[in-house]
């Protein structure tokens, strides 16, 4: 229903003084069952700080594009208890209930062995083996994660640790109202590499089954899924261990879980290796659409990469039954739309999507030009060296497109993010070339940097709603002076492995 009405809206050509509605004879059903978005509401990003009315409007748009599942996570490690996190808990609850109003199912991420800050750790990333043991050892803390774990993760193979994990989950889920599904997550954060927990997929699945029983008592209609995210990424043998669990599960007349969430790496590896996943456990691609093109993420504006994600889905084909896109904000809106369209109709191509998006959001008067601009911008984002236009040329083209836009389209954040991407890249390219001759043109450099700063601050503060005082992480927000240094390749703003 919602996708159908959205399709109708997007077929209307809203022109100056009239609306053209073509004669339509369309019967359609989705090719893939799950078309979800994960709102990664953390670190003070757009999902954390934007007024709820804008989140609601965004959810409506996504529903009109066929998105049918919203996933969220309340990160226990950020809070000492539920009361301390009440504000975020309430925000997520509101978002989930509104997702239900626009026809979406709701899915909760549950990192299986996560803990509150202060239980076994303080909420610090574990960037080394047994990090923090020298300063504040805790016997129940999960051990030996060189990447992706938090010091709040709890070892579930110790009886007291397991009790604490179960207690945390019961406390948390007893507070929730809108629980459609729960997906248990193994890593990033999560996991424990102590001798008793290894191999982690075995411990993880046994813990999940126990958690599902407890949560199921609180939410009898909830469905349960499991994730295989990062299996085999840092420790060999985890795929085998996980498939051993699936074999055991296959012997049961009915399974306690439904879908398996996988990253592209896991899905492609399993497919290439000829691994067969039981049909009763459809694979859902956990598609990463956010964390590329810039750090801070989205720091250069929109990051359209339609071909990249179409190709990923084409490669996996029928091996997956849907996707849940990992989203850090609104700057990858086109990627969300592209994946949702491809999941609905696998025959659709990037050009069709850009055209439909442009007609709907930018108006029929300039749809063709805007669609062309989007395609050229995608070339710039994917590899500037092979793009047919420079960022400066594209910036000029954006100005041309904008001149034929109606005000409602010009003021739409989608267009502004797309327009800013070329404008910022043009300044970055200039600063990069001027930087190669530091003794020359310092005045010129200062002028271009100021232009960059204005664009960047507009992006961060007005469009992304970031607040520099809200202890944002550098991958969400960094001051313009630091960001430009990273964009021209002088510094590595976030080296996540530097503390190994």
């Amino acid at each position: 229903m919602l996708y159908g009405l959205g399709k109708l809206l997007r077929q209307i050509r809203f022109l100056d003084g009239r609306c053209d509605l073509p004669e339509l004879q369309l019967t359609s059903r989705p090719d893939k069952a799950m078309r979800g978005i994960y709102f990664a509401a953390h670190f003070g990003n757009w999902y954390c700080l934007t007024p709820l009315s804008e989140i609601a409007a965004y959810l409506e748009e996504l529903a009109l594009w066929g998105v049918n599942d919203l996933m969220t996570w309340f990160d226990l490690s950020n809070y000492s208890d539920l009361q301390n996190g009440q504000s975020m808990l309430d925000r997520i609850e509101w978002i989930m209930q509104y997702a239900g109003q626009v026809g979406m199912r709701t899915t909760r991420v549950s990192v299986s062995n996560e803990g509150f800050s202060g239980q076994v750790g303080l909420g610090r990333p574990m960037l080394a083996r047994n990090a923090f043991n020298d300063t504040d050892y805790h016997p129940l803390r999960a051990v030996d994660r060189a990447f992706g774990g938090m010091d709040t993760d709890i070892c579930p193979s110790q009886p007291d640790g397991r009790k604490l994990v179960l207690h945390n989950k019961e406390r948390y889920f007893s507070q929730l109202q809108h629980v459609g599904s729960v997906v248990f997550w193994p890593y990033d954060p999560g996991g424990c590499n102590c001798e008793r927990c290894l191999p982690w997929p075995g411990t993880f699945m046994s813990l999940n089954r126990e958690l599902a029983e407890r949560i199921g008592r609180l939410h009898p209609h909830a469905r349960f899924h499991v994730s295989a995210w990062w299996f085999e990424a840092h420790r060999e043998g985890e795929d085998d261990a996980f498939f051993t669990q699936l074999e055991k599960d296959s012997k049961l007349s009915a399974s306690w879980f439904d879908c398996i969430f996988v990253g592209h790496a896991e899905a492609a590896r399993w497919k290439d290796a000829g691994r067969t996943v039981p049909k009763r456990h459809p694979l859902v691609l956990f598609s990463e659409i956010s964390m590329f093109d810039a750090i801070p993420w989205g720091g250069k504006g929109a990051n359209p990469a339609l071909h990249k994600f179409m190709d990923e889905l084409d490669r996996l084909g029928d091996y997956i039954d849907g996707a849940m896109c990992y989203s850090e904000g609104i700057y990858e809106d086109l990627n969300k739309v592209a994946i949702a369209q491809k999941l609905w109709d696998e025959r659709v191509n990037p050009g069709d999507i850009a055209a439909e998006y442009s007609n709907y959001y930018f108006g029929a008067d300039c749809a063709e030009q805007a669609s062309w601009y989007v395609c050229k911008l995608e070339e710039l984002v994917s590899d500037p060296s092979i793009g047919s236009m420079t960022a400066h040329e594209l910036e000029q083209q954006a100005g041309e497109v904008e001149r034929s836009m109606k005000e409602w389209a010009r003021s739409d954040w989608r267009w502004q993010l797309l327009r800013l991407r070329a404008a910022m890249q043009a300044r970055i390219d200039t600063l990069k070339s001027l930087g190669e001759h530091p003794a020359l043109l310092s005045d010129r450099r200062e002028v271009v940097y100021k232009e960059f700063e204005v664009l960047y601050d507009d992006l961060q503060f007005r469009l992304y709603r970031h607040h520099p005082k809200d202890s944002l992480q550098p991958w969400i927000y960094a001051p313009a002076s630091q960001a430009i240094s990273a964009f021209v390749g002088k510094t590595d703003l976030v080296n996540l492995t530097s503390r190994k």
Binding site: M1, L2, Y3, G4, L5, K7, L8, L9, I12, F14, R18, C19, L21, P22, E23, L24, Q25, L26, T27, S28, R29, P30, E60, A63, L64, N68, Q101, V102, G103, G363, W408
Partner: protein
């Protein structure tokens, strides 16, 4: 072109929400009126749906919720359960008496 979106008498909350979402977006983009009404409020059932105030009439619903949709489906060769599943849709639009119209 103004727009009227007609809902069936048994419209569920999601159908009403979807119709309102459509109307909001139509208004912004066209600068014209868009209203949501119920079947029977100034318009009848069937393809003529006469009496609606808009130049564009959109009938939204399912056979379970809307008489107009039931009638349209009965007059078509559609086998809805097998062709649509739980999320699919049918979209038809055509000119009626020089007035474009759609139904879902």
């Amino acid at each position: 072109m103004n727009c009227t979106i007609a809902l069936g008498r048994q419209a569920v909350p999601l159908e009403r929400k979807a119709a309102e979402m459509f109307a909001d977006r139509f208004r912004v983009r066209s600068g014209r009126e868009a209203n949501v009404c119920d079947e029977g409020e100034g318009e009848g059932e069937g393809e003529e749906a006469g009496g609606a105030q808009g130049e564009c009439l959109i009938v939204v619903g399912t056979p379970a919720s809307s008489g107009a949709i039931r009638e349209a489906v009965a007059n078509s060769e559609l086998d809805l359960p097998s062709s649509l599943g739980t999320e699919g849709f049918v979209l038809r639009s055509r000119q009626i008496a020089a007035r474009p119209a759609s139904f879902m």
